[in-house]
Amino acid sequence: MASGSFAAQPETTAWTRLMVNRNWLGFWFMVPTMIFLLFFLAWPLILGMWMSMTDMRIGRGGVFIGLENYQYLLEDRDFLNATGFTLAYTAVASVVKFAVGLYLAILLNNHMPLKAFIRAIVLIPFIVPTVLSAVAFWWIFDTQFSIFTWLLQKAGFLAKGQYINWLGDPFLAQCSVIFANIWRGIPFIAITLLAGLQTVSPSLYEAATLDGASGWQRFRFVTYPLLTPIIAVVMTFSVLFTFTDFQLIWAMTRGGPVNATQLMATLSYQRGILGGRLGEGAAIATAMVPFLLAAIMISWFGLQRRKWQQGESND
C-alpha cells in the first residue's frame, strides 16, 4: 500500500490529516455558517432560556431559581389572558387572512384590465412600515375621529353625536387590532398564492371543463389540491408572524385597555424591559416556544412532499 510512503513523512500529524481529508472538507465549509448560527440564533435562545430560570433584574445578575418564574406565571391572570388572546389573535387573523388572501389571489389570477396596477395596489399594506400603518389605524379607530364611526353615522346606523370607543372597549379593541393585523397580512398571502396559481397550467382547467366540472368543482378538485404545498408554506409563515406580533399592538394600544390586547410578545417586553424583571420577561418569551414549535411541526408534516410530487419530473 501507498501508506508506507506517507508514514515516511515525519510532519504528517493527525491535524494535517484532518485538513486534507475529503470527508472533513464539507465540515470545514460548514464551519462559518455554524458559527454564525450559533452566535446569532442558538446563543440568544439559550441565554433567554437560562434567564427565564433566574430572578435577573436590570442591573442585577440573577440567581438560579429553577422553574419558579413559570410557576408564578401559571397563576398570573394577565399572562394567561395574554396567552389566550395570542392564540385567538393568531387563529382568527390567520383564518381570515387565508380566506380573503385566497379569494383575492383567485380574483387577481383572472384577466382583467389594469391587472398589473391592481396587483401593485394589493401589495400596499405590505410595503407600508408596520408602525406607520399602526398609527393610521390608531386614527381610523380613534374615538372621536374614526372614519368607521363617521360612515356608520352617515349610513344612519349610528345617531349623530354617538361614538364608538373602538380602542377603549376591551372587546372592540381586540377586534380592532385583529382587523389591523388582517389588513396588513393579506397581501403576503394573496401574492404568494397568486404565484402558486400561476404555476397551474390553464389546460388543466380546460381539461376539467371538458370533463364536466363546474367552477366550484374546478377549484375543489384542481386548484386547491395543486395549491396545498404552497398553502402549507405561506400559512406556516403567517402563523409564526402573527403569533409573535409586537409592533402593531405596541403602536396601537400598548396592550391596553386593561391588558385586553396584550400579546405574549408585548407582555414579555412590558415585564422584562419596562418592568425591569428580565427573568420573568424571558420566561414569557420562552413560553411562546412550544406553541411555535407545534406550528412548525404541523406544517412540517403538511409540507412533506406528497406522493404525486415525487418521482422524476421530466416535464
Partner: protein
C-alpha cells in the same frame, strides 16, 4: 358517434379576424386532420369545436345539434391536449375516472369503464401511478384513456404527439390510428406535421391564414394540389417549384433551360407560371437536362441529391445509389405524367 359540420365559421379577436369563414363536413366515424403552419387557425378551430373558444360567426353542428351556445361539457366531446393536461395530483385511474366521478356514475360502472380503457391502451399496470412517474408516451396514453372512458361522440386531438421524441411519435401515430380503427369514433386531429396528416387521416384539411386551402384524401392532395401552398406543404422532401414560362416546347426557366411537361391547357402558352416537380418524380436520364450535383445525401433505401439546373436548386430523390461527386454533371428528367403547373399570379393549379 356523430358527424360534425362546420359552416362558414369565423373567429375574431376584437377587430383581428383569425378564421375567415371555414366550411368542413366531417362524416360519422371519419378521421379528419387539420394541418397547417403555426398561426393558421387550426388549433383555434379545434377549440371552437370543443367549446373552449366562442364562435364569432357561422355554425358548428355535432350530430344534428347546433352547438354554438352549448357549454363544453354538454357537447359530448373529449379532447387530448398537447401537454396532456393530466391532473398531477391524481393517479392514472383517478385521472381517467374524473369525468365519471363528476357525473356521479356508480362505482362499478366507473371501475368497469376505466378497466376497459386501460386494457385497450395497455395501462393496467400503471393505474396506481401518478403522472410524474410516467414516461411521455405513457402520459399520452393516459390522456387518450381519459378521452376513451368518456365514450364521446367526437375525439379532438390538439397536436398530441409534438411533445414526444421522434421514435415514440411514429409508434404513437400507429397506435392512434389503430385505436380509431377499433373504436370508429369521429376524430378531429390538429397537427403541423404533414407526415402525421398523410399517414393517419381519412381526410386532410390544409389550412393557411385562417382559410381552408384544400380538403381531401391524403393522396388526392399529394397527386392534385389545388394551389402552390398545398403543393409546397404536402410531401417530404417538399415539391421543387420553378419559375418560368410555358412554351409549346415545354417549360422554359431562366437561363433557357426547357423542361418537358405533360399536357397543359392550349391557351396557356406564353404564360408566366410555376412548375412543380416532386423530388421523387425526377429520374436519372443520360439524355435529360444537365444538372450539377451540389449535395449527395445517401439514406440507404434511396438517395437524396440537391442539384443546380439553370440557376435553380432542386431536390431529387433517386432509388438508385448515386456515385456522382459534388460538382459533377448528371442528366435528369421529370416524369411528365406527374408534373404540376401553377398560375404565377394567383398560385392556383392550371390543371383543369
Amino acid at each position: 358517434m356523430a358527424s360534425v359540420q362546420i359552416a362558414d365559421v369565423r373567429k375574431a379577436y376584437g377587430s383581428t379576424q383569425v378564421i375567415h369563414g371555414v366550411d368542413i363536413d366531417i362524416e360519422d366515424g371519419e378521421f379528419v386532420i387539420l394541418v397547417g403552419p403555426s398561426g393558421c387557425g387550426k388549433s383555434t378551430l379545434l377549440r371552437m369545436i370543443a367549446g373552449l373558444e366562442n364562435i364569432s360567426g357561422g355554425e358548428i353542428r355535432i350530430g344534428p345539434r347546433v352547438v354554438n351556445d352549448v357549454p363544453p361539457k354538454e357537447r359530448d366531446i373529449a379532447m387530448v391536449f398537447q401537454n396532456y393536461a393530466l391532473y398531477p395530483h391524481m393517479t392514472v385511474a383517478d385521472n381517467m375516472a374524473f369525468s365519471m366521478k363528476l357525473r356521479k356514475a356508480p362505482k362499478e360502472e366507473i371501475a368497469d369503464r376505466v378497466g376497459k380503457a386501460a386494457a385497450i391502451l395497455g395501462l393496467e399496470k400503471l393505474l396506481d401511478r401518478y403522472p410524474r412517474q410516467l414516461s411521455g408516451g405513457q402520459r399520452q396514453r393516459v390522456a387518450m384513456g381519459r378521452a376513451i372512458v368518456r365514450d364521446p361522440q367526437v375525439f379532438l386531438f390538439d397536436e398530441p404527439l409534438s411533445n414526444l421524441d421522434a421514435k415514440l411519435r411514429v409508434q404513437m401515430r400507429t397506435e392512434i390510428k389503430e385505436l380509431h380503427q377499433r373504436l370508429k369514433t369521429t376524430t378531429v386531429y390538429v397537427t403541423h406535421d404533414q407526415i402525421e396528416a398523410m399517414t393517419m387521416a381519412d381526410k386532410i384539411v390544409v389550412m393557411h391564414d385562417g382559410i381552408v386551402e384544400q380538403m381531401g384524401a391524403p393522396l388526392d392532395l399529394y397527386d392534385r394540389p389545388a394551389n402552390l401552398f398545398v403543393a409546397a406543404f404536402i410531401g417530404s422532401p417538399s415539391m421543387n417549384l420553378l419559375n418560368g414560362t410555358i412554351t409549346p416546347a415545354g417549360f422554359e426557366t431562366e437561363g433557357g433551360v426547357v423542361w418537358p411537361i405533360g399536357t397543359h391547357p392550349a391557351d396557356s402558352n406564353g404564360k408566366a407560371a410555376v412548375l412543380g416537380i416532386r423530388p421523387e418524380h425526377i429520374q436519372l436520364d443520360d439524355n435529360g437536362l444537365k444538372a450539377e450535383v451540389v449535395v449527395v445525401e445517401p439514406m440507404g433505401s434511396e438517395t437524396q441529391v440537391v442539384v443546380r439546373c439553370g440557376g435553380q436548386s432542386l431536390t431529387c430523390v433517386f432509388r438508385e445509389r448515386i456515385t456522382a461527386k459534388p460538382g459533377e454533371l448528371i442528366g435528369i428528367t421529370p416524369d411528365t405524367n406527374v408534373t404540376h403547373l401553377f398560375d404565377a399570379g394567383t398560385g392556383k393549379s392550371l390543371a383543369a
